[in-house]
Symmetry: C2
Amino acid sequence: MLSARMSSVVLVCAFLAGGSPLQADTPLPIMPLPAHMVEGTGSFPIDGGFQIVFQGHTEPRLERARDRFLMNLTRETGILHWPASSVNQPQFVINTAEPSAEVEQLGEDESYRLEVAPARVLLSAPNPLGILHGLQTFLQLVQTSPQGFAVASMTIEDRPRFAWRGLMIDAGRHFMPLDVIRQTLDGMEAVKLNVFHWHLSEDQGFRVESKVFPLLQQKGSDGLYYTQDQIRDIIEYARDRGIRVIPEFDMPGHATSWFVGYPDLASGKGPYRIERKWGIFDPAMDPTREATYKFLDRFIGEMTALFPDAYFHIGGDECNGKEWQANSRITQYMREHGIKDNAALQAYFTGRVQKLVTKRGKITVGWDEVLQPDTPKDVVIQSWRGQDSLAQAALRGNRGILSAGYYIDLNEPASQHYAVDPLESATVKLTSEQQSNIMGGEATMWTEYVTPETIGSRIWPRTAAIAERLWSPKETNGIDSMYRRLAIVSRDLEYYGQTYRSVSERMLQRMIGDVDSSSLKVLASAVEPPKEYAREELGNYDSFTPLNRMVDAVPPESDCAREFRDVANRIAIGKATPSDWQQARQWLTLWRDNDSVLQRYLPQSALTAELVSVSHNLSMAAAIGLSALGSLENRETVSPSARQGQLSSLKSLEAPHAVLLDMIVPGVEVLVAATR
Amino acid sequence: MLSARMSSVVLVCAFLAGGSPLQADTPLPIMPLPAHMVEGTGSFPIDGGFQIVFQGHTEPRLERARDRFLMNLTRETGILHWPASSVNQPQFVINTAEPSAEVEQLGEDESYRLEVAPARVLLSAPNPLGILHGLQTFLQLVQTSPQGFAVASMTIEDRPRFAWRGLMIDAGRHFMPLDVIRQTLDGMEAVKLNVFHWHLSEDQGFRVESKVFPLLQQKGSDGLYYTQDQIRDIIEYARDRGIRVIPEFDMPGHATSWFVGYPDLASGKGPYRIERKWGIFDPAMDPTREATYKFLDRFIGEMTALFPDAYFHIGGDECNGKEWQANSRITQYMREHGIKDNAALQAYFTGRVQKLVTKRGKITVGWDEVLQPDTPKDVVIQSWRGQDSLAQAALRGNRGILSAGYYIDLNEPASQHYAVDPLESATVKLTSEQQSNIMGGEATMWTEYVTPETIGSRIWPRTAAIAERLWSPKETNGIDSMYRRLAIVSRDLEYYGQTYRSVSERMLQRMIGDVDSSSLKVLASAVEPPKEYAREELGNYDSFTPLNRMVDAVPPESDCAREFRDVANRIAIGKATPSDWQQARQWLTLWRDNDSVLQRYLPQSALTAELVSVSHNLSMAAAIGLSALGSLENRETVSPSARQGQLSSLKSLEAPHAVLLDMIVPGVEVLVAATR
């Protein structure tokens, strides 16, 4: 609803900051941090005048990488033209020793060496993969200076710590259109991730065209699936970026959508319909009929031909076995064949399917559950259960990758993911040979609560922190440095095509209609989505539920709230600077007063009406914080009962409202607890 | 350069505002305003549950329009699924009487009728063009409410005032990639523009693949051209949106790029190189050789086959004739044939070329200059010289379209373009029959100072105001209503794929590097690019000059400065509200104090270093404004000499600094002049 013009004063919680001049301990503005770096003198200017020269091996992929590099450099600098200029200009030499494998292989040499000097850049690598990584490093190193854009002189020698650095996208629960996939691959390239794990079938949807079994997509996808041509395009697009594509077809559970077109595959009677709810469901493939394996043999034949990667993911998670137990033919089969329980029946199934995969020359990957006493040693375990579970697999001689700790759909802070090391296990000691079974890790983007619109802000920027964990040396682990660089990379990712920050602003504006969104942004900066699986308990969701609320618009982690907690902690331990005090007061005042402005508009839109209490609670918490701040500043004593009253008020504000956590409360609690 | 975390308080000049509840005079949030509208009772809910039903004529274009409509509705609301649901759901009926012409014709019936009621929408039109327009109207009418998204009940009967409502893009000076063209067509559809005029050749580049004369693009484009397949795709894309595509090949001047590959076409000796500077240049086609017409005959044959529209633009502007005068063979020819001057020679050329166009069954369009005493009546005149020039053509019996007044590259305010009516002429009185020769108008986006990155903020949102002038009744002319609706449309355009607002923010961040950009945004909100052709006098520009400065990042028109002027005017005439006074003080204080923060960072980046004086001047102007505001508030008298000193200080601040105008100065001048 349109009304009078106004303007308003907004607090922006800005991580890209500049209170003080260049700090001596400023880390390189890059993520993941390189393995080894030596600073030089001077800098290489980015002024549109340099020439890119290829030496050694060349191929069209490298030329495309150059074009993409120049396009992104243009976006970073606004400098448009890159004419092939005279030889006296500075040169950017790309030296590639040899081609890489026709189909990218796990463990190929991804190292590169980047020498930046005032008149010349030399990027060299054993094969194109290293060149691709080195170009991304260079892009991130571009900085403003009084003389213009430049990259400081330095020599970098870099290589990844782990060979498998992945991101999984669940295109089953919410279909993700091709532009989302391409945009994600662009972001992965920027942070040197090299495996795109494409979760392509779920209870809620079968997302690939099968020509052999067309009812899979015709009846199981609502029309939302990738054609085989589109799949091939994406594989090519990923290869251009040094990224392998690993398909996952989840079985025997999480497979309802298969059964809509092919009910005979299932263990129940059917008929089946595409599942619209979230959760673990009973339908499961029938492991006791030979027809199941005949179907899967042909299906795996078709899909292993479509996806060239050497690895093939068969899922295997969360099969509850209820359909098996309800089918007397299956229980009879189990008795006859001495299969003692559901786990054993699934192990039998996995063994059969694994042979079908092996027959096609591929290596099987599966979730934790596929690891059973008889599981062959060449099955790769993707662990969602934890580092210990992964270590157990490695101990046994199976290779594995870690996803536990990297579940980016759970809205945990980047620091939490960053602290998870694939090689650490509390309970299992591995020899270094056994450690080498652990190939890396994968961030997992499950999509119950994520749409094409919101997926960007769920993946980025936190996945860059996981990418660093998987690429950089183990010793690269400073949280403060990580967050400072993450802020810069978050901005850089916009140059490389990620739009999640502007999408988030657009969503907030949409919620409040034709009204200035400034006060809504202030509220948004103080809240976060609930963590882990709390959201599913706070509402009744299905495939059709719009994900257009505040909880969907805000990032999983509030920079503002984290900064406020840091300030509060410094105040509490007596290490605050005068600007910390001022900052805390400014923020708390803004949060306290924001409510009176915002309440006027919140009831006018269905999407903001639920925020009435959220805004009110923020104001209350901030008022308590201001009172505590005043007491601390004036060294006034606070009566124990008054403090207790405040703390219990705050405790009640910790509970989610409108599926949102007030992230200011913890900082305020610190301030109150610090009063005497 | 990364340094300490901070946050800052930013003024946002927000046009989407909500100080007061719904105003009685709130205009429909739509642009262009419909010709006729009657309000109903209740509203049609947008909740994902309605079904779109086609009646009457159907065609694939309508189905694609429906899919695009649903996608944009999803972006506007965040409501995802649109399953074909049960018949008890509300219905959205689209009734199309007949097909439109195979190739869209000028003057086809574009009318539609849109009836919105709580349980049903009926959109009907004589042909698909009206349906396309009606869908855009509906999208713009979607609003938030306490019950969710909805469109208020109403009946709209709508039709355009002018049949030719165009936007020209100059892809010659700066090549515009396909995604820019497509994005522009999306925006044109949203505001019901129906002609995309594609300026495809210039001194600086020849932008279409010719298979007959391949050296045109091979030597004349730096590799930046559209293939014929791409052109066909764009024509199809435009047709899907009810937009005709008219190509322009500028001749005989503005044609240097042709001569790089085909020097014999030219009147000079050559060799020719692609022009890198901006301006009017001497090279011109040789009108005296038959070979020129042979070439053009084959070329026009190829291009009229590629572009199906009935109209074909041959340019004809700004040929200075110097090459003709310098060539004795040409001057001799002129003498022999009684051609008295350059204008007559160009008229001869135009006449010959027009016959070649006519031979291919097309109608010739040209700029003002093609209108000469002998110009045939079926040549359409595009007037860049003014309304009088257009009226003269109409008087003579030539049809015409207006572009003078719609030059959006000149950075004029929307209100200025909005006030220009194609039918108004100060000097010529036309009969209504003569008036009917005036078919409409075209906004022109010349690209000397525009890149693919900045073109969005140059076109939008101001072009929506021009679109309204060309579509809506003449009586739709309230400036205040226009600006209020423009602010809403500007936001809506983001839902329809325009990214110019976030691009502008990205450019500001880029300028200042790894430092919080809040203070830079404050400065940006107070400045505008210089108007008309002032920029070319303020620097030395060519094709390679980066367009990444503040002048390129800020929109042509500052909402904030305009609002401040409005407030200052109300204060000056004694009609200010208390909130006006408070607002003025808040703004002026912010502008005054911003400089002290900003000066710390400006020297650190080459792109912000030039803003040192701009920021300082803004602070000075604001300080003068605050002083005047204080005098007015306290009814203090100001000595004539003090006031004169302030006014002359302000006068000196009117001059551009760093190619930027301080747009706060006029409002401050108003305040100072109002003091006693």
